[in-house]
Amino acid sequence: MTDRLEMRAMTKKYGDFTANDKVSFSLAAGEVHAIVGENGAGKTTLMRMLYGMEQPTSGEIVLNGKLVVFRGPEDAIRNGIGMVHQHFMLFGEFSVTENIVIGYEPKQAGFFKRNDANDKVRALSEQYRIPINPQAKVASCSIGEQQRVEILKVLYQGADIIVLDEPTAVLTPLEVRDLLQTIRNLAESGKSVILITHKLQEVMEVADRITVLRGGKVTGTVSRDETNADDLARLMVGRELQELSERIPLEPLPLLQVEKLTVRDKQTLLDQVSFTVHHGEIVGIAGVSGNGQSELLQAISGLRAAQEGTVRLGGKDVTNKSVAIIRDAGLAHIPEDRYLWGTAKLSSVEENALMGYQRKPAYNRRGVVLREKFRQVVKGWVEQFAIKTGSRQLQELAGNLSGGNLQKLIVARELGHETPFLIAAEPTRGVDIGAMEYIHQALIEKRNQGDGILLVSSELSEILALSDRILVMYKGRIAGELSRLEATEEKISVIMAGGSIHGSNQRAI
């Protein structure tokens, strides 16, 4: 294999901050080369330089043996480099074909030749085994299909090097499997793929070589056959990963009792859901997003009315009570969408931390919030969770924090309520490995203290690592329940997709 692309000693400085420090990287024809690293390790900066969106401070890019300088993405595209961004750049009202050929439409005398375009797209789709319906409207395509449209667009533009930026973050497990297959297909037909991710299992499955970045520097370039996920994690974090604490078995006293909970909004979103969370138990809810998990959490926490059924928390009936009453009864809540529910972006870190504490007697005197006293508490959280708040510290606007740091702030705030029951929805979405470890450890400790946790996560690995019991949701119902011992990723995936696991070898699609 000859090197199709070589990036030599790439350095990028923003003022005093060095985002990339002499990063070298090479890519052979037909190779899948993964770049892994925590948030802020410099993965995206490196790719932005390759794609001409940033100019390197020093270093050079050699493409097919020739030194090249890209002034912008157009240059990169012309030289056969294509990027599939994490956020798709598609026109929902246009067809798949129109989205793929946009900018490079087959034309005759100024007229768009739609049939030619459709034929070309179909041919590409067959050549690379990327199934797609050229005439479908993009808005009606699933996320996985939209991603395939993006990949085909890049191929249509003649890319030999395809950069995929966190491609699996938005996909369901089945779509992930399809995508990884597509990546292998592309490599087999001679394309080179750069895969940016922090999910190590996927890397181990699909990559030929892996480059690990930490703090803007390369900490290792290894071939897949010589490494494993643990080694990669160590290279990423720079230390040994900690084992989670032992789970202490506790007497299972019921804490949250949900019975026949039903939520309707034109159609039934939550259908007769019943389950119990006990003291000292983490109950994980798995499922493809949109199968009723959000409605379940909102109904339990008082953000949405339930039409039928009851919710009891600590023996108290809290069905359709106000959020304030339910929180007083012992609920804390890490919300699934931190920007929509969890923060006020234009307020300071401190004010975001204050939510729910503003009327607690400990922080109130004669009708005045004791901000100074509370500030000390927030400072403790910032230290404990290593939250990077930026130059204005606690007065920094929450919207200026990175997603991971904001998530840590929310987790700290909700754990700080020290309630017997916690809803943890996507508690580690977008946070790096170090923080993820910390949050997982904190959840286990809370469990060991005898508190109950309802965990919802789209990461099966997270569900499996933390849960004592796993419920799988499908179409608004609980489609299956697995104990910690019997649960495997395979079994959960099958139920998530609407299958059943009666008889251990039976597999349904």
Partner: protein, 356 residues
């Protein structure tokens, strides 16, 4: 310290808007053919040129300030109260009637009048708030339409049942308040009255409430992200209704102090014609709903109006100069609004996930 910094920061943009407003005004003056500098000198003199003019400006600023403070509380909670005019007028007419017909000594009349004016203004604002909470009738529309009901009803009261038939029959107005029920003037012979002090106290009080109390915090969070507030257990309806009541109460107080400190009777149109409510709206927007900023912006807007009167007295430039400058201010404020809105949308679309 932080408060001062925050205040000065929130004043940069409005000052810029004012400067551009004055520049546009200069174009108008030039078009009329007058000296720009001379005209603005006259304007300055008309607003601040002597102690008399200065106190007139403060008197004019009083209702503007009170209304702006009320609106700012609503805006902070993310509630759009456009009904200040009706709340002010209804508060004023009730206060006048109580102060006239309550058989009690002057001091009691004053207190009862003020309480009635605030309560009536508050309840008049509470009603659309309740309609929103119960029936989801948009506040923006209901508060606006409630103005017509209030203003016309007050007008009816003083043209029919409570009309002063003793003096000149031409004006629709109540009889005069007894002298003992008048709010004292701050300086003999000057028009500024005790209402101005009420406004300053209200501004300080509102600043304190918003900054230091749990309620102020909840108002702010509700205004910034109502879903976050809801998620955190803040009762949106309660905060909204409290905000509407306080907002209407302050507007009612604005009308009341005009009645008890300036006109000594309720005169039909005396509160609506000068456009106090709309100037108050502008003062609140210009100050970005900051209570202390509102002290500055309402005096400033009042100064444009009293200054323009001076301009009209002494030059050929018409009174409408003030309207031109104000119109430019409105343009700039609304431009800021759409800019913020656009920025917010953009921020929502371009959330950064994953790697840096």
């Amino acid at each position: 310290m932080a408060a001062i910094k925050e205040l000065s920061k929130s004043l940069v943009q409005p000052l810029l808007a004012v400067v551009i407003g004055l520049l546009t005004g200069a174009l108008v003056i030039a078009a009329v053919g007058e000296s720009i500098l001379g005209t603005y000198q006259e304007m300055w003199k008309g607003a601040f040129g002597s102690f008399y003019f200065f106190t007139s400006t403060l008197a004019r600023a009083t209702p503007i300030m009170l209304i702006a403070l009320g609106l700012s509380l609503a805006f902070r909670a993310g509630v759009f109260n456009l009904g200040a005019e009706g709340q002010m007028v209804l508060g004023a007419v009730s206060a006048a009637l109580v102060a006239i017909y309550l058989p009690a000594p002057g001091m009691i009349k004053i207190v009862a009048g003020i309480c009635t004016g605030m309560a009536v203004g508050g309840f008049w604002a509470l009603l659309p708030g309740f309609m929103e909470a119960r029936f989801r009738i948009p506040l923006l529309i209901s508060t606006l339409l409630f103005n017509y009901i209030a203003v016309l009803f007050a007008s009816y009261l003083v043209t029919e049942p409570f009309r002063d038939r003793s003096g000149s029959a031409a004006l629709a107005q109540t009889v005069m308040l007894e002298k003992s029920a008048w709010l004292p003037k701050l300086f003999a012979g000057m028009s500024v009255h005790a209402g101005f002090l009420f406004a300053i106290v209200a501004a300080l009080l509102l600043f304190w409430v918003l900054r230091f109390t749990p309620f102020g915090y909840e108002v702010k969070m509700l205004g910034q992200n109502s879903l976050f507030a809801q998620y955190g257990g803040i009762n949106r309806t309660r905060v909204m209704l409290t905000g509407m009541f306080a907002s209407g109460g302050l507007a009612g107080l604005a009308g009341t102090v005009e009645v008890m400190g300036a006109h000594y009777r309720f005169v039909d149109g005396a509160l609506t014609v000068p456009g106090f409510a709309w100037t108050g709206l502008m003062a609140a927007l210009l100050a970005n709903s900051h209570p202390l900023g509102i002290i500055v912006t309402s005096i400033l807007l009042a100064a444009f109006q009293t200054g323009a009167m001076g301009v009209e007295r002494n030059t050929d430039v018409p009174l409408e100069l003030a309207s031109v400058i104000q119109a430019v201010l409105i343009l700039f404020i609304s431009a800021k609004f759409s800019y913020d809105w656009w920025k917010k949308r953009k921020a929502k679309g371009g959330e950064t996930h994953g790697a840096l």
